[in-house]
């Protein structure tokens, strides 16, 4: 038992790839998103509430899960616009082109890094939510990012 400490700088990692293998934590040619300020895994089941005459409290049933990954990042030139010569096509095209082309990507969110038996969550989906913002106060480009998950999230270990 213990908290998952992320202060070392190599624990909470978002990796993208055009195949599942390329998106695994520590994968060669995996596209690790740098300068991520925060990351949130949203795994919320849909809920419908209803009332019955025989109960003073509302009742509920679940519908489909609506999963997404969201976060904020400082923009890195190669990550956003693409890295020439990359074998991982998500890295080759960059986040912006991958988002506008509505290309499906595979992703993992590492919780403890990329060492053996470290836990991560994986899935596939579409990049959205990019809204790069620049201001003199901020000094650098900042953007939110979201991965709208297609299907279920799965937990696994390296």
């Amino acid at each position: 038992m213990g908290v998952l400490n992320i202060t070392a700088g190599s624990q909470a990692i978002l990796t993208l790839g055009n195949t599942e293998a390329l998106s695994l934590p520590g994968a060669t040619d995996g596209m690790v998103i740098p300068f991520v300020q925060d990351i949130t895994v949203n795994a919320a089941p849909g809920i419908v509430r209803y009332s019955v005459l025989s109960s003073p409290s509302s009742k509920a049933f679940t519908t489909v899960n609506e999963n997404s990954i969201s976060g904020n990042m400082l923009l890195d030139e190669e990550t956003f616009f693409g890295l020439a010569g990359a074998t991982n096509t998500v890295a080759l095209n960059g986040l912006f082109a991958t988002s506008t082309a509505k290309t499906k990507v595979f992703f993992t969110v590492a919780f403890e890094g990329s060492d053996s038996l470290d836990h991560y969550i994986k899935g596939e989906g579409f990049i959205g939510g990019l809204a790069p913002t620049a201001s003199m106060d901020a000094a650098v480009w900042i953007s939110p990012v979201e991965i709208i998950v297609d299907g279920e999230l799965e937990a696994d270990t390296v």
């Binding site: 740098p34 300020q37 106060d137």
Partner: protein, 141 residues
């Protein structure tokens, strides 16, 4: 090159070129504004500009999960000039203006990503000596 060095470089120019150097005014490029026998050198040597050393503070502007920290540095430099209040030289306003504008030398071309560059001055008259204390404040990334 340090911010103080850049300001010295700018002020070393002639009046017409944005500096202070002229027949009436000059720049002390080697010495800091130290005090001799209880009197600051810039008071003892009128119409000579002295530039202080830098005060600097560095804070984290952004922290990221991969420790890709972005720092914000605030640098403050002071400059001093004294003048005989009984005999203000005709080009005094130009010297003052050029000293205020000297902040512009700190820019991307000289290696600084400047977020904010401010300059201003206060003046104080004691007996017949008027002392201008300039303060340059830079926020760089």
């Amino acid at each position: 090159m340090s911010i103080r060095t850049l300001i010295l470089q700018q002020l070393a120019n002639t009046l017409a070129n944005g500096g202070v150097t002229s027949t009436d005014y000059s720049l002390e490029a080697n010495e800091l504004p130290w005090t001799a026998s209880g009197e600051p050198l810039y008071v003892k040597n009128m119409r000579v500009v002295y530039v202080s050393d830098e005060d600097e503070s560095k804070v984290q502007l952004y922290r990221t999960l991969d420790q890709g920290t972005v720092y914000q540095t605030e640098t403050v430099v002071q400059a001093f000039l004294s003048e005989d209040a009984k005999n203000i030289k005709a080009n005094n306003p130009t010297v003052i203006e050029n000293m205020l504008n000297a902040k512009d030398i700190v820019n991307t071309a000289n290696g600084y990503n400047v977020q904010l560059a401010d300059s201003g001055y206060e003046q104080e008259i004691e007996d017949s000596t008027i002392t201008y204390t300039f303060e340059y404040t830079f926020t760089t990334i």
